[in-house]
C-alpha cells in the first residue's frame, strides 16, 4: 500500500501539483474577510481597491490635473499583485499539507468494526465506536480506531501514517500496545479498547494539522504581528499627514502616489510572508515525520535550553558490543579470539554476534562451518549465566566473570588476579566484562560496551555552541553513566533514573527559567512528557505518551529531538531575518519615492534622487514593483527557512545583520534602479 506521507514527502515545494492549485487559491484568498486577518496586507488591498477606483474615475470623468491613466493603472495592478503574491506564498506553504491531508482522507474510508458485546460480536461502522468500546481485529483487517491492545499480539502495517513499510509488532501490556486507526493488521488477532471519541482520532488530528485548520498564531507570531501592525499605523499616519503638509508647501499629492508610498513603507515583505513561514515550519517537521500538535510547540523547540535524552537509542546504539579482547597472562590473544568466537557462534543475541564480528575483523577469524554432530552448544540460562560449546574434549564457556570463575573453580582452575583487576577496570569504565574459559583455564575477557553513536559528540558540541545543555537519562548506575556521558560529550547525566527523578529534573530546570525538551514512549513517561515544554512522543509508544507530548515522531527515532530543535530555531530565525530585511528596505524606497513626489514643484530636491531614476512616475512604479517582486523572490527563503548554522548567538547575529540588515538596505537600491532601467528600455513608462 503506497503511503500517504511517503508520496507527498517527495513533492518538491515548487512541484506543479502544488503550484497550480496554489495559484487559484491565491486569487480566492483575495476575499477581504480573509485578507483582514493580516492587517498589513489588508492595507495593501484597500490601497489596490482605491487606486483601481481612481483609475476608473479618471477614465470616466477625466478630471483636469489627474495623474496619467497608465500610471494609476500600473500602480493599481502591481498593488493587486502584491496581495496576490503574499497569498501565493501562503498557498504554496499550505499546498503540501493539503496534498497530504487529501491522501490521509482517502485512507479514512469507512470500515466496519467488530465490536464485542456481552460475549458476542456485532458489526458496526467505525464511526459509531465510542471511547471504551472493545473491538476485535484480525489479519487483513483495518483497525477501526485509535486505542490500546488489551489482548493478543500482531504485526501491523503502519505505513499509512509513518511511511515506513516494514510492519511493526504490537502487543498487549507494556509500551508497545498502542494502535492507530486506519492501520492494517497483517497477522494474528488482537482485541483493542478504543481510546478516543469519533472525530478526535489521531488521523483526524493529523488531517487537521497538516491542512492548517488547527493552525493558530503562535506567541512569537502574535508579538511580531503587533510590531508590524504598529509600524503600519505609524506609516499610515506619516503618509496621510503628508497630504496637508504637502498642501502647505503648495504640492497637490495624487492619491495614487500617497498609496504607493504607504504600501512601500509598511512592512509588506514580512507581513506577506509571515504566515507562510509558520506553515512551512510545521511542514518541515512533517517532512521529518514529526507531527507537531501546535505551532506553539515548534516555536518552543527553538527556545529549548535543556535536552533530556534517553541513553539507549539516542546516544548509544541499542545494544552492547564487544570492543576488545583481554587475554590472561600467557595466553595468545588469537587463542582467546578463537575460543570466544566458537562460544558465540550459536549465540544469536546482538552481543554474541558482535563477538563474532570482532574476532573476524580484528583477528581475521572467519566464521567456520558448524556441524551439530561435532559441536554441542550450551545455551545461556539464567541459572548458569553462561553459554558455550562442547567440542570433543574442549569445554568452552563464556559468561559473567563470577559465573565463569565458579565454573573453572569447580574444574580445579582459578581466575587469574590480573583478569580480576581488568574486569573491575572494565566495570569502572561503564562496560561489561565477559570471561571466556576453555576447560579449567580462563583464557581472558571480552570487553562489551555501550557504543556511542557515530557523530553524536559533534552534534552535542553544536548544541553547546548554541547554548543548549544536553542531559543523558539512563537506568545505569552512576559509574557507568558517567563513563558513557564522558564519551558521548553530554553536559550532564541522570543515572538510575526513575520517572519521579526525571520529573524532578524537569521541574528543577524549569524553575531556573529553562525550557526543557524530551522524548518518551512509555506510559510512565507521560507525566514528564506533559511537564516538558517540548515533549516528543514516539509513535510506537503508548496512547498515554502520545497524548501527553506535544509532538509525535512517526519514525519513533529518539535522535529526532535534535532536528526538532533545529527546525524550531530556523523558524524563528527566518522570521527575524525577513523582518530586518523588510524594515531595512524602507531606506531605499524613501529615496525613490519622496523626490518623485516633490521634485516637480521643488526641483532643488533632485539631489535626493540618488538613484537617478528616469522620471517621477517611473520612480514610484519601480518602487512598487520592487516591493511586490521581492515577496515572490523571498518565497523560497520563507518556505525553506534561512540556512541554519550551529553558532553562538553573537556570531549568528553578526552574520544575519550583515546579510539581511546591510543587504536589506543595499538590495532595493540596486533592484529599484534595475526595474527603472527595464521600464525605460521597454518603454512601458512615458516620461
Amino acid at each position: 500500500m503506497a503511503s500517504a506521507s511517503s508520496k507527498t514527502k517527495q513533492l518538491s515545494l515548487f512541484d506543479p501539483a502544488i503550484l497550480r492549485p496554489a495559484l487559484l487559491e491565491s486569487l480566492r484568498k483575495l476575499d477581504p474577510r480573509r485578507v483582514a486577518r493580516n492587517p498589513v496586507m489588508f492595507v495593501v488591498e484597500v490601497g489596490s481597491v482605491l487606486t483601481t477606483l481612481l483609475w476608473l474615475r479618471d477614465r470616466l470623468l477625466r478630471p483636469p490635473g489627474a495623474a496619467p491613466g497608465w500610471f494609476t493603472l500600473s500602480v493599481s495592478v502591481w498593488l493587486w499583485f502584491t496581495v496576490v503574491f503574499a497569498n501565493f506564498a501562503e498557498a504554496v506553504a499550505e499546498g503540501r499539507g493539503k496534498a497530504q491531508a487529501q491522501a490521509l482522507r482517502r485512507m479514512r474510508r469507512e470500515v466496519t468494526a467488530r465490536r464485542r458485546v456481552d460475549g458476542g460480536e456485532e458489526r458496526v461502522p467505525a464511526s459509531a465506536l465510542r471511547k471504551g468500546d472493545t473491538v476485535v481485529v484480525e489479519a487483513g483487517e483495518v483497525i477501526p480506531g485509535d486505542g490500546e491492545i488489551v489482548e493478543g499480539i500482531a504485526s501491523v502495517d503502519e505505513s499509512a501514517i509513518t511511511g515506513e513499510s516494514a510492519p511493526v509488532i504490537r502487543e498487549s501490556g507494556g509500551d508497545r500496545s498502542a494502535v492507530t486507526g486506519g492501520t492494517r493488521v497483517l497477522s494474528d488477532r488482537i482485541v483493542v479498547r478504543i481510546g478516543v471519541e469519533p472525530g478526535e482520532s489521531f488521523l483526524d488530528r493529523m488531517i487537521a494539522l497538516v491542512e492548517g485548520a488547527a493552525r493558530q498564531k503562535t506567541p512569537n507570531e502574535i508579538a511580531l504581528h503587533i510590531l508590524l501592525v504598529g509600524l503600519t499605523v505609524i506609516f499610515l499616519f506619516a503618509c496621510v499627514t503628508l497630504v496637508p503638509v504637502a498642501r502647505y508647501a503648495s504640492i497637490d499629492l495624487s492619491a495614487t502616489a500617497v498609496v504607493a508610498l504607504l504600501v512601500c513603507l509598511i512592512p509588506t515583505t514580512i507581513g506577506g510572508l509571515l504566515s507562510a513561514i509558520g506553515i512551512a515550519g510545521m511542514d518541515r517537521l512533517l517532512r521529518k515525520n514529526v507531527l507537531a500538535m501546535s505551532g506553539r510547540a515548534v516555536e518552543a523547540a527553538g527556545d529549548v535550553d535543556t535536552l533530556l535524552l534517553d541513553k539507549t537509542g539516542t546516544i548509544t546504539l541499542g545494544n552492547r558490543m564487544a570492543t576488545e579482547l583481554i587475554p590472561s597472562p600467557g595466553v595468545a590473544v588469537e587463542d582467546l579470539a578463537d575460543a570466544a568466537q566458537l562460544a558465540s557462534l550459536a549465540d544469536e543475541t546482538p552481543e554474541g554476534r558482535s563477538i563474532v564480528v570482532l574476532a573476524k575483523q580484528q583477528y581475521g577469524l572467519r566464521g567456520r562451518e558448524v556441524r551439530e554432530a561435532e559441536h554441542h552448544f550450551i545455551p545461556f540460562t539464567a541459572q548458569t549465566r553462561m553459554s558455550g560449546v562442547d567440542m570433543g574434549p574442549r569445554r568452552i564457556r563464556k559468561g559473567a566473570v563470577d559465573a565463569v570463575a565458579r565454573h573453572v573453580a569447580a574444574l580445579g582452575g582459578a581466575l587469574p588476579p590480573e583478569l580480576q583487576a581488568a574486569a573491575e577496570r572494565i566495570g569502572d569504565s561503564g562496560g561489561t566484562p565477559l570471561a571466556v574459559s576453555d576447560g579449567a583455564r580462563v583464557l581472558g575477557l571480552v570487553h562489551l560496551k555501550d557504543v556511542v553513536k557515530g557523530g553524536i559528540a559533534e552534534r552535542f558540541e553544536r548544541f553547546r555552541a548554541m547554548g543548549i545543555r544536553t542531559v543523558m537519562i539512563t537506568g545505569d548506575n552512576p559509574r557507568t553513566a558517567a563513563a558513557i556521558a564522558r564519551e558521548a560529550g553530554v553536559d550532564d547525566f541522570l543515572a538510575e533514573a526513575t520517572p519521579e527523578a526525571k520529573m524532578r529534573l524537569i521541574k528543577d530546570e524549569q524553575a531556573k527559567g529553562k525550557l526543557v525538551a524530551m522524548t518518551g514512549d512509555g506510559t510512565n513517561d507521560a507525566p514528564a512528557l506533559a511537564q516538558a515544554d517540548v515533549g516528543v512522543a514516539m509513535n510506537t509508544g503508548t496512547q498515554a505518551a502520545k497524548e501527553a507530548g506535544n509532538m509525535v515522531d512517526l519514525d519513533s527515532n529518539p535522535t529526532k529531538l535534535l532536528e526538532v530543535v533545529e527546525v524550531g530555531k530556523q523558524l524563528l530565525m527566518t522570521r527575524g531575518t525577513l523582518t530586518t530585511f523588510s524594515i531595512a528596505n524602507d531606506v531605499a524606497k524613501y529615496f525613490a519615492i519622496l523626490p518623485a513626489l516633490f521634485v516637480a514643484v521643488y526641483p532643488e530636491l533632485a539631489p535626493l534622487d540618488v538613484m537617478h531614476l528616469a522620471s517621477p512616475f517611473s520612480a514610484i512604479l519601480s518602487a512598487v514593483i520592487f516591493n511586490a517582486i521581492i515577496i515572490v523572490l523571498l518565497i523560497p527563503l520563507a518556505l525553506k527557512g534561512v540556512r541554519y548554522r550551529p553558532l553562538g548567538a553573537a556570531a549568528v547575529l553578526r552574520r544575519s545583520l550583515l546579510l539581511y540588515g546591510v543587504g536589506g538596505v543595499v538590495a532595493p537600491f540596486a533592484g529599484i534602479k534595475l526595474i527603472d532601467l527595464a521600464l525605460a528600455a521597454t518603454r512601458l513608462v512615458h516620461a
Partner: protein, 573 residues
C-alpha cells in the same frame, strides 16, 4: 570649524564620561542602596517628609499603584500651578504688580511645567510674578524631574528584579522615589550649583527690577530676580524653562563660556549617570554602558553635523561685506561662538532640556535639522532626567525583539522574554509621539489660525511648526522661535500635546515594567542574544534612526531638507 571648537566639544564629552560612573554610583546608593549618603543631615529630612505625608516607605507599589500615584501627583500639580497663575495678582510676592495670566496661556504653562517640558509661550519677566516663578514653576522643575527619575527606576526595577514565582511584583514606592530624588539629588546639587553660578556672576535676589541709564543716556529697566537658583535646577532637571525670555542666551542666566560649559555638563549629568545606575541594577554594568554608548554615538554624530553646518557661512548673508569665516553667527551669542552654540543646541535637544543659548530658528537648515531630529528620535540621546533612560529602554526592548528573533530564540532582555504584551505596550509608546506631532503639525499647517502664527513662509515655516509640536510632545520645551505661540490654538493644542506626550507614554512604560517584573529569568548562555556589546549598540542606534527618522522623513524633506537644498541654489525663505 576650528580646533578650539572641536576641543570644547571633546572636552565636554570627556567630562560627561568622567562624571557618569561616580554620579551613577551615588544615584544607585540613593535609590537602591542599603544606606543612603549623608544619613545625619538628609536622613531626618527624608523621614520628616514621610511622616508629614503619611508615606509608609517600605510599602511598594505594583505598576498600577505607581502609575496612579504618579498621575494624581502630576494632575494636582497642573491644577495648582494653573490656579497660582490665574490668581497671582491677589497673591503675595508680586513686586511688579503683574496681572493674572490668561486662561489658555496658564493652561499651556501649567501643562508645560508639570510635564518637564518648560515650553514657554510667555516672557517670564513680563508675565509671571516671583511667587508664580518660585512656587508655581520652580516647584515643577524639581518634582517633574523627580517623577521622570521615578518612572525610569520603576522600569529598571521591572527589568532587573527577580522576585521569583511567589515574590511581590512591585516596582518601588512612587513617593519614596520622589522624595529621595529631591532630598538627596536635586535639592543639594541645586544649592551647590546655584552658589557656584552666583560666584560666576549670575544674580540671585528678590528685589524689584532696576532702572538704569545706558551709555547712550537712555533709561532701561533691567529685570532681576532669583535667577541662579532657578538656573541650577533648570539644567540639572533638564527642565529648560528660563527665568528670562532669552533663556541661556541672556547674560544673567549664562554670563560666560565657563557657565555655559557648566550648564552643559549639568544637563547631561543625571541622564548619563542613570545609565550607570541602571547597569548596576542589572548586575552587569556593561548593560548600562551599551545604552550609554548608543546615546553617545548619536550625540557625537549630531554635534558634529550641527557644528559643521553652523561653521559654514550663512547663505542668506552671502554677498554682504562681512567676514564669513566665523560661520553662521546670526542669532548666536558671540561669547559662546559657533561651537558653544552648536554644542548647546545638540545637548539641549538630545536631552529633553530645552534651554537655549542661541536661536535655533537662525541656524542653517542642516544645523537646525539636528535639534529637530534629536527631539524626533524620541529624546533618547541621554534624554530628559529619567525620561531619557526609560525612552531608551523601550527602544532597547524593540531592538531586542526585532533582532532577537534572528538568533533563533524568543527574544529576551536581561533573561526575561519579550512577548506579545510587551510588544503591544512598546508599540503604543512608539506610536503616540509621531501621531501627536504629525497630526497636530498637519492641522496647524493648513488651518488659517495655525499658520497665521508663523514667522516665516515656505519650508522654514514648516520647520517651525514641526519643531513646536515635536518639542512639546517630546517634553523638550525649546522653541525654534519665529512662531508666535501665545494664541488660543497654539496654547491649547500645545498643552494637550505636552500632556499626551508625557503621560500617555509613561503609562505604557510602567505597564511594561509591571509585566516584566514577574517574568521568569533564563540565565544567559552562548545561545542568548547579547545586549551588552558593540553589535547591540550599533543595532540599537539603527532601530532608533529607522523608527524615528523614517516616521518624520517625509515631513522633514519638505522642511529643513528642502530648505537646505534650496539654499544651495541660492533660494532662501
Amino acid at each position: 570649524m576650528t580646533e578650539n571648537g572641536w576641543l570644547q566639544i571633546g572636552l565636554f564629552a570627556l567630562v560627561v564620561l568622567a562624571v557618569t560612573k561616580p554620579f551613577g554610583l551615588y544615584l544607585h546608593r540613593v535609590f537602591e542602596g542599603e544606606r543612603r549618603p549623608l544619613p545625619r543631615v538628609l536622613g531626618p529630612l527624608e523621614r520628616a517628609l514621610y511622616r508629614l505625608c503619611g508615606v509608609e516607605p517600605r510599602r511598594e507599589h505594583d505598576w498600577k499603584g505607581y502609575a496612579f500615584a504618579m498621575l494624581i501627583f502630576s494632575g494636582l500639580g497642573v491644577v495648582v500651578t494653573y490656579a497660582i497663575q490665574r490668581l497671582q495678582h491677589v497673591l503675595p510676592l508680586n513686586p511688579q504688580g503683574l496681572g493674572p495670566v490668561a486662561p489658555d496661556l496658564a493652561f499651556n504653562t501649567a501643562a508645560s511645567f508639570a510635564t518637564n517640558t518648560n515650553w514657554q509661550n510667555y516672557g517670564g519677566e513680563t508675565t509671571m510674578s516671583d511667587l508664580t516663578q518660585m512656587a508655581g514653576l520652580a516647584w515643577h522643575n524639581f518634582t517633574s524631574a523627580a517623577v521622570g527619575i521615578g518612572v525610569a527606576l520603576a522600569l529598571a526595577r521591572g527589568l532587573t528584579r527577580h522576585p521569583g514565582p511567589g515574590g511581590a511584583r512591585t516596582l518601588g514606592n512612587f513617593w519614596v522615589d520622589l522624595v529621595r530624588s529631591i532630598v538627596y539629588v536635586l535639592l543639594p546639587a541645586s544649592v551647590v550649583v546655584a552658589l557656584v553660578l552666583v560666584a560666576l556672576g549670575v544674580p540671585q535676589t528678590l528685589s524689584a527690577y532696576r532702572e538704569l541709564t545706558t551709555l547712550e543716556g537712555l533709561k532701561q529697566v533691567v529685570a532681576l530676580g532669583p535667577v541662579a537658583s532657578q538656573e541650577a535646577i533648570k539644567e540639572l532637571g533638564t527642565n529648560g524653562g528660563g527665568f528670562f525670555n532669552a533663556n541661556s542666551a541672556h547674560p544673567f542666566e549664562n554670563p560666560t563660556p565657563l557657565t555655559n560649559f557648566l550648564e552643559l555638563v549639568l544637563i547631561f549629568s543625571i541622564p548619563a549617570a542613570l545609565t550607570y545606575t541602571y547597569g548596576k541594577m542589572a548586575r552587569d554594568t556593561r548593560q548600562g554602558w551599551a545604552v550609554f554608548a548608543a546615546m553617545a554615538v548619536l550625540f557625537l554624530a549630531g554635534v558634529g553635523i550641527a557644528y559643521r553646518a553652523e561653521a559654514q557661512a550663512n547663505p542668506a548673508l552671502a554677498g554682504l561685506a562681512c567676514d564669513h569665516r566665523a560661520g553662521n553667527l546670526e542669532g548666536k551669542e558671540t561669547r559662546f561662538g559657533v561651537a558653544g552654540s552648536a554644542l548647546f543646541a545638540t545637548v539641549t535637544t538630545g536631552t529633553s532640556c530645552g534651554a537655549v543659548n542661541a536661536m535655533h530658528d537662525s541656524f542653517t537648515p542642516l544645523g537646525g535639522l539636528v535639534p529637530l531630529l534629536n527631539i524626533q528620535l524620541g529624546e533618547v540621546i541621554f534624554g530628559g532626567v529619567g525620561a531619557g533612560l526609560y525612552a531608551m529602554l523601550v527602544m532597547v526592548i524593540l531592538t531586542v525583539f526585532i533582532a532577537g528573533l534572528m538568533v533563533g530564540r524568543t527574544p529576551e532582555y536581561l533573561g526575561k522574554k519579550i512577548e506579545a504584551r510587551e510588544m503591544k505596550l512598546a508599540m503604543l509608546y512608539v506610536l503616540i509621539f509621531p501621531l501627536l506631532v504629525l497630526v497636530l503639525s498637519a492641522w496647524a499647517a493648513v488651518a488659517p489660525y495655525g499658520a497665521s502664527s508663523l514667522g516665516n513662509a515656505g519650508p522654514h515655516g514648516l520647520s517651525e511648526i514641526l519643531y513646536a509640536y515635536s518639542s512639546q510632545a517630546g517634553n523638550n520645551g525649546s522653541a525654534f522661535a519665529g512662531l508666535s505661540g501665545n494664541t488660543r490654538f497654539w496654547n491649547v493644542t500645545g498643552a494637550l500635546d505636552m500632556l499626551a506626550g508625557r503621560f500617555l507614554m509613561i503609562v505604557p512604560v510602567l505597564a511594561i515594567a509591571g509585566s516584566m517584573v514577574g517574568k521568569k529569568v533564563v540565565p544567559a548562555g552562548p545561545g542568548t542574544f547579547p545586549t551588552n556589546g558593540a553589535t547591540f549598540t550599533v543595532l540599537l542606534i539603527f532601530v532608533i534612526l529607522i523608527v524615528g527618522a523614517l516616521t518624520f522623513f517625509p515631513a522633514l524633506s519638505l522642511g529643513p531638507v528642502l530648505e537646505h537644498f534650496a539654499a544651495l541654489h541660492g533660494r532662501v525663505f
